[in-house]
């Protein structure tokens, strides 16, 4: 048993002419919240799809809980759950039926109980018997995340989990993510909102130009950052400043 939940090395992936991932290395410890940042098109979703066994890498290796994504995809799938960038719920089923469906497929012992528990946890009990295609964007996203928690997988991928949520909904999701991590679940999330990474992540990595160009805790990243300019007031750089500065440096070369 390794204490690394996710291990990625020298991962490469191209789509026809576009080389999206050149050489990505990552390691995520168990129980950690790991945020993967990057501009649009940086390859965050591609990376997650490879880890979730949806895409094959061109070369390099990746393993989840010690299981290789290419050689042991079934083992990997037993340990993961993916909340993709776009909500994946079955609009013709009710919220409750969606959860029961996933619970059955995951072989959970009491699918109905699991569904009810998750519905109340995500504030969807009142809408449980309504078809999911009548849900608002935020409700759909909450149902989507709830579906990913069925069966308590060891590693959860959340691709931009709070996009489209109102501030309240976002706080709810943040709370859930923290609770999951406290319970020992490993979480790899991508986000465009740097505040989200600042709030949640134990570890932050920045994906740019096909590889990870910065990786560490928020404090470590702050140290790497060119010292705050001494002006009349010293201002701690926000993660946003760090992000833009690092990307600017690399991109300029």
């Amino acid at each position: 048993m390794t204490d690394l939940a996710i291990q990625v090395s020298a991962l490469r992936k191209s789509f026809k002419a576009t080389e999206v991932l050149k050489s990505v290395d990552l390691s995520v410890r168990r129980g950690e919240i790991f945020a993967l940042l990057g501009s649009n098109g940086a390859g965050k979703t591609t990376t997650i799809n490879i880890l979730a066994t949806l895409l094959k890498p061109d070369s390099g290796s990746a393993s989840i809980c010690g299981f290789d994504v290419l050689r042991q995809p079934v083992k990997v799938r037993e340990n993961i759950s993916l909340t993709g960038q776009f909500a994946a719920v079955d609009g013709l089923l009710t919220g409750r039926e969606n959860l029961v469906l996933i619970a059955r497929l995951r072989g959970v012992h009491s699918p109905h109980q699991t569904a009810d528990m998750l519905l109340s946890r995500f504030g969807l009990s009142a809408a449980a018997q309504r078809r999911a295609d009548s849900y608002s964007g935020g409700m759909t996203r909450r149902l989507d995340i709830a579906m990913s928690l069925v069966g308590t997988p060891a590693v959860i991928f959340l691709d931009e989990p709070t996009t489209g949520l109102d501030p309240e909904g976002r706080l709810e999701v943040w709370k859930t993510i923290k609770e999951l991590a406290d319970g020992g679940t490993t979480i790899l999330l991508t986000t465009q909102q740097l505040e989200e990474a600042e709030q949640l992540a134990d570890h932050i990595a920045i994906l740019h130009g096909g590889s990870i160009i910065a990786n560490g805790t928020l404090n470590e990243l702050k140290q790497h950052f060119p010292p705050a300019k001494v002006e009349y007031i010293e201002k701690q750089p926000s993660l946003e400043d760090i992000f833009l500065a690092i990307i600017g440096q690399k991109g300029g070369k």
Partner: protein, 250 residues
Amino acid sequence: MKVWYATRVLFGRSMLHILRSPDTIITVLITPVMLMLLFAFVFGGAIHIGSGNYVNYLVPGIELIAIASGTAYTSLRLFYDRQKGMFARFQTMPVSRASILWAHVLTSLISNAISVVLIIGIAFIMGFRTSAGVLQWLAVGGILALFTLAMTWLAVIPGLTATSIDGASAFAYPLIFLPFISSAFVPTATMPTIVRVFAQNQPVTALVDSVRALFNSTPIGNEIWSALAWCVGITIVAYFIAMRAYRRFQ
């Protein structure tokens, strides 16, 4: 065991889809029934099929049209599953990849069987009569099931590869027209040579003639072998192409 369980769960899900989208049920049934009414009561009087009841003559072709348009929904359901991300969700779960596809195929077989039975019922009301015994009924069921299987695997291909809804459903249009250039509605003998050669050598004519012979308890000729060969051939070829497309999803 696990494969069968997951297939059953996913099959239950897509059957619910059918029950909850009344438009699918209506289009699958209405079009063939309207055609049957139209041919029986409007064109029928002007069509000469020799002796016999024209509704009896129509039923086999109408069933094939119902199946061809019914299987088009397999493309659509697969396409929507891909588009809405359900496909990706299932594929990242510990669910056998085969189940995800077979659930759709099973759904198509069962839902088409139901519409075939309903159409036979309506045909009875319109005057369809048959002297078929149990064995002949079973043979008809078998041929139609095989045809459904062939059409379903054919429908899986655009379902897995289409990039738009139109693309996913377009494949059915030519199939729905095939019966019109066959022995489904009129005897092929009166057709101009080129059309007749096409009509007599395409699968619908062989299928229609076989089913008609079974219903009328008349001797079945070689057309039954030709019908079976078409169905099995299409199933095998379509299955392999579909599986190749499916493997792209790993």
